[in-house]
Every structure is written in C-alpha cells, then in structure tokens.
C-alpha cells in the first residue's frame, strides 16, 4: 500500500446518502480477477445521467470525494475501493461510512474522513469552486477559505496509512501468539 500523508486537489461534490457499493461498481464488473481497470465503470448508473459530477472536466482525476451519510453500504465488494483508487481518489469525506467499506478503503490506501454533516455540507459547497486539502499528519480538512475541520482516526489505521504498511506482514509477526491460541483451544 502506498503511504498517505497529505492530499490536495479538487473534491468531487457527490453528496447523497446511502450510496451503496452496487452504485459504486455494478455487479457486471465484478467478474475481473484483477484489481486494476475498474475506474471507468465506477458510478455507472450516475454517469448515465447528463450533467453528473463525475463527467465534469473540473473534477477529472480529483483525489477527493465528498459523499453523503452511510457511504459504501451494502455489498462487501472491495472492487468499490479498487474502482475509487483507479479513478485516482485517495480520500473520501462523509458523515458516516459502512464498516466494511471503510475497512476496504483503508486497505487500499484510501482515507475515509468522518465529519459532522454540517461540515460535510459546507465542504460540498466550497468544493464546487475550490480545491481542498486532507492532511493525515494534522488530521484536518482545510480549504482556501480558511475552513478547518479536524477529524479522528484510530491510531493503528493512521500509522498504517502514514507508513504504507502491509497488514498481513504485521500480523504474521504475531505468529507465536496465533500458534499458542491454536494449541490452547485445540483448533
């Protein structure tokens, strides 16, 4: 996973609550056995509508996405995170995320930033015209208009993202504990 420290750029002002992973990447695109190349199929049903934010040239390769409540609900498909990564998105801001999605995003070096709805609404309107900065070191989202919103993230995830660490390698370092557990429980 590539390290995440700070991302600066345009933020796609998507909004809308309960955007499920079927909307992020439709089932017909899950037949791949690779992780790459899913970006062009992302948000297909939204992109089918004229004037959608994803096809607005101002937001081409924008590294930030601003979404509504409960983003990434539904199916556990990690293809949703792969599709976002393929689009160039490194951070998603919303008032809440589905648990599975935010775990998947994290494992692909995408930061999910939880902010109160009022802050999200403010950023949605600022982002229409201006770039934003998401900084994991200072744990803030800022705008050129002096907006500054702090967010929280559990320290483990923060360390992993900052260092670009491989979680499997970290866990394998606990091999002795895993082995001891297996012996103790007879599994």
């Amino acid at each position: 996973m590539s390290p995440f420290t700070r991302v600066e750029g345009r933020a796609i002002p998507l909004g809308r609550p309960n955007v499920d992973t079927d909307v992020i990447i439709g089932a017909e695109h899950l037949k791949t056995i690779e992780r790459s190349g899913l970006g062009r199929h992302a948000f297909g049903s939204i992109r089918a509508q004229a004037g959608n934010v994803f096809d607005d040239p101002a937001f081409a390769r924008a590294p930030i996405l601003i979404a509504g409540d409960n983003f990434g609900c539904g199916s556990s498909r990690e293809h949703a995170a792969w599709a976002l990564a393929d689009l160039g998105v490194r951070a998603v801001i919303a008032s809440s995320f589905s648990d599975i999605f935010s775990g998947n995003a994290f494992k692909n070096g995408i930061l999910t930033v939880v902010l109160p709805q009022a802050a999200v609404d403010r950023l949605l309107s600022v982002a229409k015209e201006l770039p934003l900065t998401v900084d994991l070191e200072t744990m803030t989202v800022t705008s050129p208009l002096q907006d500054r919103f702090s967010f929280e993230l559990d320290p483990f995830r923060r360390d992993c993202l900052l260092g670009g660490l491989d979680e499997i390698a970290l866990t394998l370092a606990s091999e002795a504990a895993i082995r001891a557990y297996e012996l103790r429980t007879g599994i």
């Binding site: 499920d20 017909e28 037949k31 056995i33 498909r77 895993i178």
Partner: protein, 476 residues
Amino acid sequence: MTAPRTLYEKIWDAHVVERREDGTCLIYIDRHLVHEVTSPQAFEGLRLAGRQVRRPELTLAVADHNLPTTPRVDGDGMRLPISDQASAGQLAALEANVADFGVPYIEATAAEQGIVHVVGPEQGFTLPGTTVVCGDSHTAAHGAMGALAFGIGTSEVEHVLATQTLLLKPSKTMEIRVDGKLGFGVSPKDLILAIIGRLGAAGGAGYVLEYRGSTFSEMSVEGRLTVANMSIEAGARSGLFAPDEKTFDYLKGRPMAPSGAAWEAAIARWRQLATDEGARFDRSLIMDAADVAPTVTWGTSPDDVAPITGTIPDPESFADPARQEAARKALEYMGLTAGAALQDVPVEHIFIGSCTNSRIEDLRAAADVVRGRHVADRIKQALVVPGSGLVKRQAEAEGLDRIFREAGFEWREPGCSMCLAMNPDKVPPRERCASTSNRNFVGRQGPGARTHLVSPAMAAAAAVTGHLADVRELLR
C-alpha cells in the same frame, strides 16, 4: 465471578489471540467461506508474497454468484461450459486456486453446491460459538446459528487465508427484542424488513445485533437465517441468535458437524453461550410481532418499506431534506407515484431465491400460495431458484417443483441467480420484479431494473395476481 456478558462478548472473548493497547484485537477465525467473486485477487496476493493458506481445512470454497442456473450437465452427465467468458474465467480461477492451495471445494456440479450462505449451515460447517467470515456481506446470515459471522473485503480474505485471524475493533451491542406471534400470512422476511424500516439503512452501523424475545425463540432456524441475513441491510455487520434446541436439532447429523461424544461435548459448550441474565446492551429496539404486516419495499434502499396495505409515500413527508431528495430519486427510478396504493403496482418478473429466501421452508411457503393457481398473463418470467442442490432435491421429493412448473414458474439450478446481475438471470431495464432477495439497490437485478423486496409467500401472491398483492387475501 465474572460480570454478566452478552452472547457477542462471549464469542469475542473466546477468540482473542492478542489485544492491542487501543482495544483492537487479533481475532481467531474458525471458519472461512470462499466464493469465486471476491477471492481471486486474494489468492493472487498470496502467490505474489509467496504465502500459503494457513489452515486450509478451516476453509470451504463453493461457486455461486456467476453460475448460470440453467442445467449444468448434458444428457451424458458431462459438464456444460459457461458461455460468458468472464464468468467462466472466474470459476476457472477458483478451481485453480483451491487446487493450488489445497482448499476444500464443493464442485459446481455437486449436489451439495449452492449459495455459500445456504451451504455453510446446511453442511454443518457453521457452528454455534464460532467466528465465521466470507468475502460477502450476507455472511451475517450465519449468525442465526449462534456464530459471530460477518462479511469481509478481499484484502481481509487474503489476511484470513494467510493468518487465520483478523484485526478487529470490538463492536457495540444492540438487542432487537420482539415478542409475540407473527400474524397470519406474516413471515420472518416481513419482520426483518419492518425492523430495517425502523432502524434505517445505517441504524445498525457499528453494532452487532442480537435478536431476542419470544418471536425469535419460536422461529425456525430457517426463519432465523432469513432475519440474520438481512442484518447488514440495517448497516450491522452481524446479527446473532442464541443457539438453542432448535439450532442443535438443525445441526445434528450434518456432514461437517461434530458427532458422537464430540457432539455431546459441543452441545454442552453451546448451551453456555446465551447472553447472561443482567448483561447490558448499548442499545435496544423493542417491537411487537403483532404490529408487523406483510411488508414490501417501494424504493431503492432496504429501509424504504411499507405494509402491503399502505401507499407509496410522499417524499415531502420525510423530515430530513437529504432523505426527501433520495426518496424523489427513488420514486423516479422506480417509476412510481406518491400516494398510489402498493397493491396496484403491476410486476413483470418474480424471483424466488437468494441466500435470504431459498431454503426448503421458503419454497414450501411459496408453493402453498401457488398450488392450484397459475402465474398471471402479464408475468414475463417467474423463477424459483433453490439455495442448494440439497434443497432442490428435497423440494422435488415433496413435489414442490411440479407445483411451480404447472403454475408457469421455471425451476432452476441453485445459485445467486437474479439476486444480482452477474449471471444470465437479470431483470431488463424499467421492468419490475417482486423478489425474495435482500437488496433493492439501483441496478442490483440488472441495469435499470426495479426491485420490490418481499417474502416468498408475497412473491407467489404477486406471481399469481400480476401485481404486488396481500397474500392474506389469497390464503383466506
């Protein structure tokens, strides 16, 4: 003496391998189910890193999402190829991966093949008190057996394959307490839809649900599987039922369940799992079973529910502006008008199947409505897709296939089928389906498809009338 604990806390505590300072725990995973869609990149990751599957024997693979539900073998018993190249490729990848890594696998043509969440309990692979994961959000279903079961992403699939553990933060706990008898014509599916309507699509996020109360203790294991399955539609990764005599009766003699002395020892352990008297939940939702009517969804989120006797809501009636906007979009997508009676909504497709409602009791409930009737003229396709080959065999032994066929239904091979648009079973754009599956998302059953989630009996009622209908009228 230890403090009273919930079922969830007991399972969690028993699986802690290591506790980190911030409360995150390395949790041992007892059972890992693998299917063809979310595993190829995980096996590839292992290969690239030169890693093995740590405990292949705790893993079970089966293909379900891609498989066409048309016959899989020809007249001579030879396997028929899958015509969709990408689907065929994903199945081939699974077969190569299970062979390379030594993972137990149920062949696509085996009688035991089926939807991963039907197969797990049916084989006795899912057991009370275990931790169960699968790269699929409806893994929540296995919670019906008293297992802590949840869906994971592909990176986590790789993590479990390599380490047999996951790094997790403890969840909050929520009890869903329902007492009383479900009304005439009201099924576990109606109840869980009503619960999701009450909680909202994100209401359970961060919680593990525990279904408690007399309604659930009276419910069959199959009904519990339906309920637990849809916990994720309320945002909860898992939903639990305390294992009881019904659970033990269901599991006894299943091929992968313990037997002999080990069985007796297991039951004794499982009896200790139920939430202790006095244990606290972080939140409670209390409902009365008598208040639940046959329920349908009208929108594109599983919490967009209404009783079948109701009308399509006016988006303005929602307090939250974001919800209003979402409802407006949903009605536009669904081609529905606020204020119209739900019972007047015509349908063209019927899907009885999916990991929510494809077990034998579901098929019996639908067949009871269909018996002696015929699907309405306006229905273009009515599918019955058993959840596994064993369910199919049982249904055929009971003559249910004949009832469905004579009524104009198609009787198919097991798989995910029309639950999601990955295999040939799809709902065409702007056409409407009464479906026993679990998601009414935009495009879920095919691009532009319009889904109404219902119980098996309600799907049967829609089939024979040609519109969403109150099954109670047909059963009287």
